[in-house]
């Protein structure tokens, strides 16, 4: 079999400020999760970071050895995963899994660690935390488990929380509660949040800034509310249109024609062009660069042309 390397992320670049909440949105296969995992170098093998730079303050994360990374993981950057049913180890008690996190980063006694753990369980609104402390994951519901995971993430007061679709596996009522909890916790503790989601509805409630990803590229980046009110990139428009709220009751739901290309078959030029209703010849051949549209940074030739026309007519008017 011929070995072939495929790039999951290309030219992805962004900054996250202290206490800021950003969202990464896109369909399945856009590279959102791998982006989240690569920040703390947790990509599953045989994947690896080929080039680029990921910095926490001034410390380069990509070149760190395992020991240095372990100090960052959990303590500075913590992660929440998609499926709470799969995230906790089934054979260890909740308490055990909380205490080990604290004790592997600090030199405090089991008793003190237990107190911190119980306090954090209390913070995420778990009733009778002392009882839960000694229970096993299977004795808790999905929503409860996600709360435990959030508590576990908060144990060491990290600077950044990366939440990979934290509500996808939960039912709708629990989703809203967990989202609200996450938001409050980030606001109260000044924690920066990277929220990975495919649901713009979820994103709009939590994130201040949004990055839209398609096929391993960022295609649009800007303030969440602006993007939602006035999406620039045709893909973002498509995503927004696909929300059930955007359709009149009784009408068919909108969708973006086609599907996300696999890594092996990424189209030339702008990767979105086969599905884009406005695609031109230029889109098929060249890679668009980011331009500021007045609403957001967007990588799209259509927007670029429109802006150019606009400035040209402006010039003529002058």
């Amino acid at each position: 079999m011929k070995k072939r390397e495929l790039a999951a992320l290309i030219d992805v670049s962004f900054t996250l400020n202290r206490g800021e909440r950003i969202a990464i949105v896109g369909e399945s296969g856009a590279g959102k999760s791998i982006l989240g995992f690569s920040i703390v170098n947790l990509i599953s093998k045989p994947g690896y970071i080929e080039s680029g730079s990921i910095k926490l303050e001034n410390k380069e994360l990509t070149t760190m050895n395992l020991r240095q990374l372990q100090e960052v993981r959990g303590k500075r950057i913590a992660m929440i995963f998609q499926d709470p049913m799969m995230t906790l180890n089934p054979v260890l008690t909740i308490g055990n899994q909380l205490v080990e996190t604290i004790r592997s980063h600090t030199n405090i006694s089991y008793k003190d660690a237990r107190n911190i753990a119980i306090e954090k369980l209390h913070n995420v609104q778990i009733a009778s935390p002392e009882k839960r402390f000694d229970q096993y994951p299977h004795e808790l519901s999905g929503g409860m488990r996600q709360r435990v995971i959030i508590a576990s993430v908060l144990l060491l007061n990290p600077d950044i929380i990366i939440a990979d679709e934290p509500t996808t596996a939960l039912d709708v009522t629990i989703q809203a509660e967990i989202l609200q909890l996450l938001l409050t916790i980030c606001q109260d503790n000044g924690v920066a949040l990277v929220l990975i989601s495919h649901d713009l509805g979820v994103v709009s409630k939590v994130a201040e800034r949004t990055l839209v990803m398609y096929a391993g590229h960022i295609v649009e980046e800007g303030p969440t509310l602006e993007i939602i009110n006035d999406p620039q990139h045709p893909y973002t428009q498509g995503l927004l249109n696909a929300l059930p709220q955007m359709t009149i009751p009784g009408q068919r739901l909108n969708q973006i024609q086609g599907s996300m290309p696999s890594l092996a078959e990424r189209p030339s030029g702008c990767a979105f062009h086969p599905r884009c209703p406005y695609a031109t010849q230029k889109c098929k051949q060249e890679q668009p660069q980011f331009i500021y549209s007045g609403v957001s940074s967007v990588a799209c030739f259509i927007i670029e042309d429109m802006l150019n026309e606009f400035t040209d007519t402006d010039k003529e008017a002058l």
Binding site: V40, L69, G74, M79, P90, L92, T93, E100, T101, H138
Partner: protein, 326 residues
């Protein structure tokens, strides 16, 4: 817990009945015990009289009923050769076999676990590849060849350990002859238990490796990494505990294989245990002893698997019997 044990007991009775029927029905296929008991000069009439006295001319059901009636009272018949109750003869040899099996299991656990874990953590490492190669060879080479080779190398050429017998033993509680508490006994135990463990080792190394690799792919392991835990903690606490669940189950089933291999090992090393006794009993057509052996082994198998289920509960909280008061 009590309900669990009662249910187990009921199952055990059922299993034992089936084992006794099977072991009893193969009796007359082994040969003619009378021929082994008396000399060539005894006339056919006298032989037939002896058969009548032993009840061997009765129908199968009559014989089985007689046997079962005795068995319920702990009487599994009288050995033709030893002229003693078969059960007593076997139980006398039980400690030797149990000690051999126990040591072999201990060696398997102590060696197979780290080997399997290493092979799972670093599948591409030269040592892991070597381990996999050795375990493939171990799976395919028959145990008696390994055992004979070990006798040749360690006893004859290197003269490190004795090749047959139990050596010196110490008696405990008036019935348990143990070779575990003196140097001579232990040195006699070395080769038999090692070759017995080699028979089981490859399966466990491969099983632990496969299960561990599977577990390492799971989300909770990735989450453990994201918490910044040490690699040691992740491998040996988070992953190994989950890995052991299927391994324990298979371990219980392998108890049967272990019994089969004790027969071989004991024969090769002249180990005075139940397996050695069984082989002798078969060649002497000592049928009561053969059936008694099969029943005792069946009992051991049932007990082992009950223990395995209890241990499994300790490892896996989702099936824990806590609600029943364990």
């Amino acid at each position: 817990m009590l309900i669990f044990l009662l249910r187990r007991l009921l199952q055990a009775c059922f299993v034992m009945i089936i084992i006794s029927v099977i072991s009893f029905s193969i009796q007359d296929k082994l040969g003619d015990p009378v021929q082994q008991m008396v000399g060539m000069t005894v006339s056919p009439e006298e032989r037939n009289q002896l058969r009548n006295e032993l009840g061997l001319n009765d129908g199968f059901l009559v014989q089985y009923w007689r046997f079962a009636k005795g068995a319920v009272h702990g009487d599994l018949g009288t050995s033709y050769y030893y002229k003693e109750p078969a059960l007593d003869v076997i139980l006398e040899k039980l400690p030797a076999t149990l000690e051999l099996a126990f040591c072999a299991i201990l060696i398997v656990i102590l060696i197979a676990t780290p080997c399997g874990v290493l092979a799972a953590i670093k599948p591409k490492h030269i040592l892991s590849r070597l381990l996999m190669l050795i375990s493939s060879i171990g799976l395919s080479v028959p145990i008696f060849i390994v055992a004979i080779l070990m006798v040749y190398i360690f006893s004859i050429e290197l003269n490190i350990a004795p090749s047959f017998g139990r050596g010196q033993t110490t008696e405990f509680f008036g019935f348990w002859e143990s070779g575990l508490f003196n140097k001579d006994g232990l040195s006699h135990l070395l080769l038999p238990s090692l070759s017995l463990s080699i028979a089981l080792m490859p399966i466990f190394v491969r099983l632990i490796r496969a299960e561990m690799m599977d577990v390492l792919q799971s989300e909770y392991i990735r989450f453990a990494w994201s918490k910044g835990l040490s690699a040691r903690r992740i491998y040996f606490i988070h992953a190994l505990k989950n890995t052991m669940l299927p391994v324990i189950t298979v371990g219980g089933i392998q108890a049967g294989t272990l019994v089969a291999y004790t027969i071989l090992t004991e024969t090769i090393f002249q180990w005075p245990g139940m397996g050695f006794l069984f082989m002798d009993a078969v060649s002497r057509v000592d049928t009561p002893l053969v059936s008694a052996y099969l029943i005792v082994v069946g009992g051991i198998f049932v007990i082992t698997n009950t223990f395995v289920d209890l241990i499994y509960g300790l490892f896996n909280p989702t099936v824990r019997l806590a609600s029943h008061g364990l």
